[in-house]
């Protein structure tokens, strides 16, 4: 089913426009592609996150803090937070654009979506870094 045939239909687009590949909206498929790239990076990072949470469950505070402050765990968590929060921002923006038709409401919802994702990302990253650095003190 993969269609690799070259497109030989005549086009009125200029060579410059075709090379830049951004289409009528001037955005191209960059965000669509980034959504897929973060989907791919989510797979190993989320699996690592599930293992980390399973190891954390039921541990007393010092052990839980020691686990999160381990460099490998902290780095995997930071990468996971970055990948997931970017992926979920783009994902929910698509949902908003599909269902919220009022223009003002749509813009407000898209901005609120970004704010939520940034707050979640910063809260998680701050917490991971703080737990990690406190272990050194």
């Amino acid at each position: 089913m993969v269609d690799n045939r070259p497109d030989i239909r005549p086009s009125i687009r200029t060579a410059r426009a075709r090379v830049s590949g951004l289409g009528a909206a001037h955005h191209g498929t960059r965000e669509w592609w980034l959504h897929r790239v973060t989907a791919v990076s989510n797979v190993p990072l989320v699996l690592a996150f599930v293992v980390i949470v399973a190891l954390m469950a039921g541990r007393p505070y010092p052990e839980a803090a020691a686990l999160v402050s381990h460099p490998l765990v902290a780095i995997l968590l930071i990468l996971g937070v970055l990948s997931v929060t970017n992926h979920m921002r783009m994902g929910l923006q698509i949902v908003i654009e599909d269902y919220v038709h009022d223009k003002g409401l749509k813009i407000a919802a898209v901005i609120a979506n970004t704010f939520y994702c940034v707050v979640v990302a910063v809260a998680c990253l701050y917490a991971i870094v703080r737990v990690s650095l406190r272990a050194l003190a």
Partner: protein
Amino acid sequence: MADTARPQNPAGRPVVRPLSPHLQIYRWTWTMAMSVAHRITGVALYGGTALLALWLVALAAGPGAYGPVAWFFGSLLGRLILFVYTWILLHHMLGGIRHLVWDFGHGMEPGTRIAMARYTLIGSAALTVLIWFVALVAR
């Protein structure tokens, strides 16, 4: 939107254009159900990241804040939430892998695409049970 912008017939009434039928008219198929499930699980995970942030911030804040949060996630309700969350996470993950395969144009044949949608549900349920079995019993 101003109504005057819409095309009108000679009698002055707006032209009633035929509309394509909406979702409820179609017979449910595996691919349709799993597509809807992918979006719903995605939105649920979106909200669920607040729980992740809560847990990590409590850990950073110290034992006083971490105690109650750890107690909640260890309680019956907390474990139920985490169990359902695990399934939602894995279902969205397997659904995403399925969509990635489709994005590259593979697996679109009638039998294959329905089987892939079906295995998303079976696989996510099996993996959830396996992970919880390992986490609870075998560790």
